[in-house]
Symmetry: C2
Subunit: 109 residues, 2 copies
């Protein structure tokens, strides 16, 4: 149906899924990489860096923001974007947990 049975899963599972899904697009990976390696916050350059039209980039930024992965502060005519480490921590912790759980397990395959 193309519709996810959200209500059948826990809130935590759904939240993690939203974050991971937000990361699950090459353009959004590129945005995160660009933001993380820029020497300061980025006010406006993002559109020129990506091979996509402005409305498309705006949409991707919205999704990253919605997932708590970036923050945007209005700075006059431009908007200043940077990585939101809070959102990033959530999944990083998730993976950390998975990894430490797995290492305690009697692997058979």
């Amino acid at each position: 149906m193309g519709i996810t049975k959200t209500e059948e899963f826990t809130e935590q599972q759904n939240k993690l899924a939203v974050i991971a899904k937000a990361i699950g697009h090459p353009a959004r990976i590129a945005i995160l990489q660009f933001l993380s390696t820029s020497q300061s916050c980025i006010c406006g350059d993002i559109v020129h860096v990506l091979p996509l039209a402005q409305p498309t980039v705006s949409q991707h930024l919205k999704e990253l923001k919605n997932a708590g992965l970036i923050k945007g502060t209005i700075e006059g005519k431009t908007i200043c974007y940077c990585i939101d480490t809070d959102g990033l921590s959530v999944i990083q912790n998730f993976f950390g947990e998975l990894m430490s759980n797995v290492s305690n397990i009697n692997k058979c395959c």
Copy 2:
């Protein structure tokens, strides 16, 4: 268009996106959590644990496998699934990099 402009991004960005996208669904998060906390590999129980029909679960497992996040070994009539730490490491490293990059930056927002 619903079509991702894959060719405009690097191979690494596309690979990371495939992995993150695979994680970006609550059912697949649930599968990963279940596999990581089971005391041994799981041969068959996964379908009974999830609130989804068997073909749907099978599809989700396929996607996780395709992204390199789980491994499946045929064990007679059943299939033995477990987490593939290789795939997990790839994104974990990605987040680690983002995090360490960000911490070196002069934040302004």
